[in-house]
Amino acid sequence: MTDSEKWARWTLGVIALTILAWAAFVAFLGNGPAASSVFALLALAAIPAAKRRAHHRCLDERESEISHKALLAGMRALWGAFIGLVLATGFLKGWDANLTVPVWLLTSAIWWAAMLILAVESIATLLLYRGTHA
């Protein structure tokens, strides 16, 4: 197993744990700023691993190609989610509606976005290492 595949598995594990912890926090504390503290798990475990991978990687051309494709897939997923959210909000709330959201919801949205990118990037990495194009 390559370093990239190990990173992908590790990241998916951290994301799964984060989602489980978030669900537990929401169940006991309700969906609020306290539940957002679970994202510390992601911040402490997955993002540093991704940074280490970026700084210390020694990738050949195939691995580099996989890495770029996987990151692109993550960014595409984020863009799709963003467009979907904008359209859903517009159609559900009305295009002239005013929205008031608490700050914790905005910060949570950033964490969910990071989680989405990392999850899609990890899955794409694992798939591309098994695919015919990689």
């Binding site: 390559t2 050949d60 051309e61 195939r62 695919g131 990689a134």
Partner: protein, 83 residues
């Protein structure tokens, strides 16, 4: 616009055979000579990855031969039509 599905690219290589004829060179040794990982050599041998021109030359150089002795292209797809 997505590409139309067609026949698989017909680039074949003789890497496995050449390794055998070069004192049974290991994948790891070839990988070191070509400057890639062993996984990439495995993917090349399995036909799951097509190398860049640079890597193709490096692999050929590792076997002290030419690129066309290592890689073979068979044109099986339809030629590009002129507009």
């Amino acid at each position: 616009m997505p590409e139309a599905p067609g026949p698989p690219p017909a680039i074949r290589n003789q890497i496995r055979s050449l390794r055998f004829h070069h004192d049974e060179m290991t994948q790891d040794e070839l990988a070191k000579r070509a400057g890639v990982t062993r996984h990439t050599i495995m993917a090349l041998e399995a036909g799951k990855y097509f190398p860049s021109l640079l890597l193709a030359f490096r692999i050929a150089s590792a076997f002290h031969t030419t690129v066309d002795q290592v890689f073979e292209y068979t044109e099986i797809s339809a030629p590009i039509s002129s507009s």
